[in-house]
């Protein structure tokens, strides 16, 4: 078993499938009255969050607690971190506390890689800068597999700000590993020039959302930050949503079985209209529930055996 989950590239097809299968068992157990499992009793999981992300932190916290791990939340605000303590010094502190796993969310790409050089425990990347968010990709893949029955051969469009999206990077890597075919869609300014060569040679790129929709099993909309406008990535929110937003008319171009995903938080009216977000094809609420199961699976597989 792997020691850290820093990137979706840490997972080969067998390991990724094992995580998804395990997540399935975890989800089944979540239906019981007693949701708690004794599995990680005596183990310590630290949530080290340098960015505000209540939903991801709560998801990891719920996952760790359902497995009976001791959870320590260490957020940058109001801690030694905001007093200028370096990541390395924080790492040495966590090391001294005997953290078995550190779940890290950080605005700098690669921070989990650095952390893994300084602590003995497992490091789980909960989102680093514009790099990756592998547990989001796992819960997305899990959601697709539960809705559509498989991943191999699925056509998935990832739409929006691919350039700045850690969700897009992790999903592209993981979905390709699991046999799906990924098309990246967005304005050329927001799709890295050499994205296929860099991440997945089979990835396709399109600048025209309407033309790809009829072939898709999954359409994943990415959050687009309005401040990208000031940097001239696109002219206006209105033009963006006209060209790349998912509304009812566009959703009708998708095959009947196709689903709509969004990692959240959404900019309703920007990349997705409320009618689409709340439609029966949308998996947005399921994704949140599946997040806990996927993270339980990751924590179990990283910590549930011999260190």
């Amino acid at each position: 078993m792997i020691k850290h989950l820093r990137s979706a590239a840490d997972l080969d097809a067998a390991t990724a499938t094992l995580i998804l299968d395990t997540a399935g068992e975890m989800a089944a157990l979540a239906g019981r009255e007693v949701k708690k499992l004794p599995t990680l009793r005596g183990r310590t999981v630290v949530n080290l969050f340098y960015e505000d992300s209540t939903r991801t932190r709560i998801s990891f916290e719920a996952a760790a607690k359902r497995l009976s791990a001791d959870v320590i939340n260490f957020s940058a605000k109001g801690s030694s971190v905001s007093k200028g303590e370096s990541l390395k010094d924080t790492a040495l502190t966590l090391q001294a506390m005997g953290a078995d796993a550190v779940v890290i969310r950080h605005p700098a790409s690669g921070a989990p890689h650095r952390l893994a050089q300084w602590v003995d425990g497992s490091v789980v990347n909960a989102g680093d800068g514009t790099h990756e968010h592998p547990t989001q990709a796992l819960l997305d893949a899990y959601t697709m597999r539960s809705r559509l029955g498989k991943l191999d051969g699925l056509n998935v469009a990832i739409v929006g700000d691919v350039l700045h999206s850690r969700v897009a990077r992790s999903n592209l890597l993981l979905l390709t590993t699991l046999g799906a075919s990924v098309t990246l869609v967005g304005p050329p300014t927001l799709i890295p020039l050499d994205v296929a060569a860099a991440l997945s040679p089979s990835a396709k790129v399109s600048y025209d959302l309407d033309s790809v929709l009829p072939d898709m099993d999954v359409v994943m909309m990415l959050r687009v930050q309005t401040e990208r406008m000031q940097d001239s990535y696109f002219p206006s929110a209105r033009e963006y949503s006209r060209r790349y937003g998912l509304d009812l008319a566009r959703m009708r171009k998708m095959p009947e079985h196709a689903i709509v995903m969004h990692p959240g938080p959404m900019n309703r009216g920007m990349e997705i209209t409320p009618e689409v977000a709340d439609s029966s094809r949308s998996t947005i609420v399921e994704q949140v529930a599946n997040g806990v199961s996927a993270r339980m699976a990751v924590l179990y597989l990283l910590l549930g055996g011999k260190a």
């Binding site: 078993m1 094992l18 019981r32 499992l37 497995l67 597989l301 055996g305």
Partner: protein, 186 residues
């Protein structure tokens, strides 16, 4: 699968026909001890407890025409020795449609050894519901208990040394039916 390596001393404890006879006997004992297996659920512990539970149910049906519900109870997440081994993949937990509340649950496993698996199964069961009683059926009891646990139904008692291992093969999981004792007595 499950064939011992040629250089490992091993002997067959139960042949296929022995094994079938033993299962028949346990099925009869269950019927006898539970007054016809009413209000009873068989829960197999993966991996080999699950096909054994199905076999017992099939034999009970053959003898008395009674359908005993069968399910599986994975105990991996309740084990107390997780840290001693590489991470294990999870097995399936599937309770019968009627659940287990108020019913007699018979846990089914292939080998009873230290008793730790059964301890974990009792913990897991406790989180799944509240049966009226819990019994234990095993194909082989090899001794060396580390906990105060005993089986209600035992297919065969096999005295063993700690250095030996009991290897149960079932056609459903291993392609053949037999029980072997491997490893030398020292």
């Amino acid at each position: 699968m499950a064939q011992p390596r040629a250089d490992t001393p091993s002997k067959i404890i139960l042949s296929a026909s022995d094994l079938h006879r033993v299962v028949d006997r346990v099925a009869h004992q269950i019927l006898e001890k539970t007054s016809g297996a009413t209000g009873t659920v068989l829960l197999g512990i993966p991996t080999r407890g699950v096909p054994l539970a199905h076999r017992l149910a099939a034999r009970i049906h053959a003898f008395e025409g009674i359908d005993v519900p069968v399910g599986s109870l994975d105990i991996t997440l309740y084990r107390d020795d997780l840290r001693l081994h590489a991470t294990r993949a999870l097995g399936k937990t599937e309770l019968p449609g009627g659940g287990i509340d108020g019913l007699r649950v018979i846990l089914v496993d292939d080998v009873l050894f230290s008793g730790r698996t059964v301890r974990a199964a009792l913990d897991a069961l406790n989180d799944e519901g509240r049966p009226s009683s819990v019994q234990l059926a095993v194909l082989v009891d090899r001794g060396h208990r580390q906990l105060p646990i005993r089986a209600d139904y035992v297919g065969k008692n096999i005295p063993t040394a700690l250095s030996e291992s009991v290897r149960v093969s079932l056609t459903e999981t291993d392609g053949l039916d037999e029980v072997r004792l491997t490893g030398s007595e020292k």
